[in-house]
């Protein structure tokens, strides 16, 4: 499951992907927050 690093691959594009995944996680937390606090 964990992705192997192969040096060349994990350049600026890898960081961009990581950034996008971090954004996705923030979105998930925001969706949860929204549904729990503003849901009703």
């Amino acid at each position: 499951m964990s992705r192997q690093s192969s040096g060349a691959d994990f350049g600026w594009r890898g960081w961009l992907v990581l950034l996008a995944l971090a954004v996705a996680n923030v979105l998930i937390i925001a969706i949860l927050y929204q549904s729990f606090y503003l849901g009703e």
Binding site: R3, S5, A20, A24, I29, L32, G39
Partner: protein, 382 residues
């Protein structure tokens, strides 16, 4: 194993806490249905409603039914002429956006003011709101059961029994076929496996995704664990999916659901073909992201248990893609996940999907369970 124990105890405590909350008061709902009501006399689950002159206005009864996110409690009022005076949902655990859609559906408007004997109570004949069929089914089931109670007690009328046949249609056949084909493909290996996987996933994408819009979601799993079992007769496909997921992961040790059946996995692979890239993250980044995902899943289930609102645990962008409904944030999440699929293989499955966290727990439980079997060691595939 220690971490599992801590997680298990925390979730059990949250669920126990959620279950201790008091039952809601029905009075405001009854007063809303009968605005002239001043006195309520409860007897055997039915409230007789009187105005300030002591004249009887009618009767009200409550009923529970299981919706998408858990139980749904509603109150139905019937006036002295046998017309339905109103339907009020007192408590529900549905996703707010879907609940609003069902509330504003024409069905409920038609019901109010109709003679209770002329109302259509069969699921199949009620046009459910797309993407919220379980919410509308629950309202119909609750309405039927409350009306049956008042009809029998006060009007001496027996409503015909609800249809009790399994809804076995295209969706159920496809679900069974996909799990069977998935297991067969997994055994076959090689290019047969590759082609069969594409065939299964595309079928899942079209039928379970775009046609039925019913992939497994965290809300459904949380709802089951909380003890809210949706009606077996009208939710057969859902049970088949859950049983297939758990059984193949636990017993067959391959998660056939995620690999062959899940429509969102298929959607990502399709986008991946367009992108044609397979960017890999470092092992450390992967581990970090997986931990983050597990923590988020735990927090979502924990909060859902404490509030006993399983539907609120759902953050997957499935409904946005398959039922074309969702909040702005869910649409954004869908956009990020599909865009990422262009450069990384199935990024949602690998780093964000709660099903993966649950799969890992199941796998570890399976390994642990097999260790307890006589013989004590791991068995190989049958």
């Amino acid at each position: 194993m220690a971490i599992y124990l801590v997680v298990f105890i925390a979730l059990a405590a949250a669920l126990a806490y959620g279950k201790t909350r008091a039952a809601p008061d029905l009075t405001p709902a009854i007063e809303k249905i009968f605005p002239a009501a001043t006195t309520l006399e409860p007897a055997g689950g039915i409230y007789s409603v009187f105005d300030d002159a002591g004249e009887s206005l009618g009767w009200a009864a409550s009923a529970k039914a299981t919706g998408y996110g858990g139980p749904l409690l509603l109150v139905v009022g019937i006036d002295r002429e046998g017309e339905i005076a109103g339907v009020e949902v007192v408590e529900h655990r549905e996703t707010p956006i879907f609940f609003r859609m069902v509330r504003s559906d024409a069905y409920l408007e038609e019901v109010v003011g109709s003679d209770f004997q002329e109302v259509e109570y069969d699921y199949e004949n009620v046009v459910g709101v797309t993407g919220a069929t379980r919410t509308s089914d629950a309202i119909v089931a609750g309405l039927r059961s409350a009306v049956t109670e008042v009809a029998g007690e006060k009007f001496d009328v027996r409503l015909p029994a609800p249809p009790r046949s399994f809804e076995f249609g295209l969706l159920e056949i496809v679900v069974l076929a996909l799990f069977t084909a998935g297991i067969a493909a997994n055994r076959a290996g090689g290019s047969v496996r590759r082609w069969m996987r594409w065939a299964c996933q595309l079928t899942g994408l079209l039928v379970i995704g775009f046609w039925a819009a019913s992939p497994i979601s965290l809300a459904k799993i949380t709802s089951l664990i909380s003890g809210y079992f949706p009606d077996l007769y009208s939710n057969l496909a859902f049970y088949l999916l859950i049983v297939g997921f758990v059984a193949t992961t636990l017993l067959y040790r391959r998660n056939i659901y995620c690999l062959y059946v899940c429509p969102f996995g298929a959607a990502q692979r399709c986008v991946g073909v367009i992108g044609g890239m397979n960017l890999k993250l470092s092992a450390l980044a992967g581990r970090f992201l997986e931990t983050a995902r597990n923590v988020v899943v735990f927090a979502a289930i924990f909060a859902a248990f404490i509030t006993l609102q399983p539907a609120l645990a759902s953050y997957e962008p499935f409904a946005a893609l398959f039922a074309l409904t969702g909040s702005t944030l869910q649409w954004l999440l869908l956009f990020v996940a599909l865009t990422l699929s262009l450069v990384v293989r199935t990024p949602w499955c690998s780093f964000l999907c709660p099903m993966r966290s649950i799969e890992i727990v199941l796998r570890n439980l399976g390994v642990w369970g097999r260790g307890l079997l006589p013989g004590g060691t791991e068995r190989t595939h049958e």
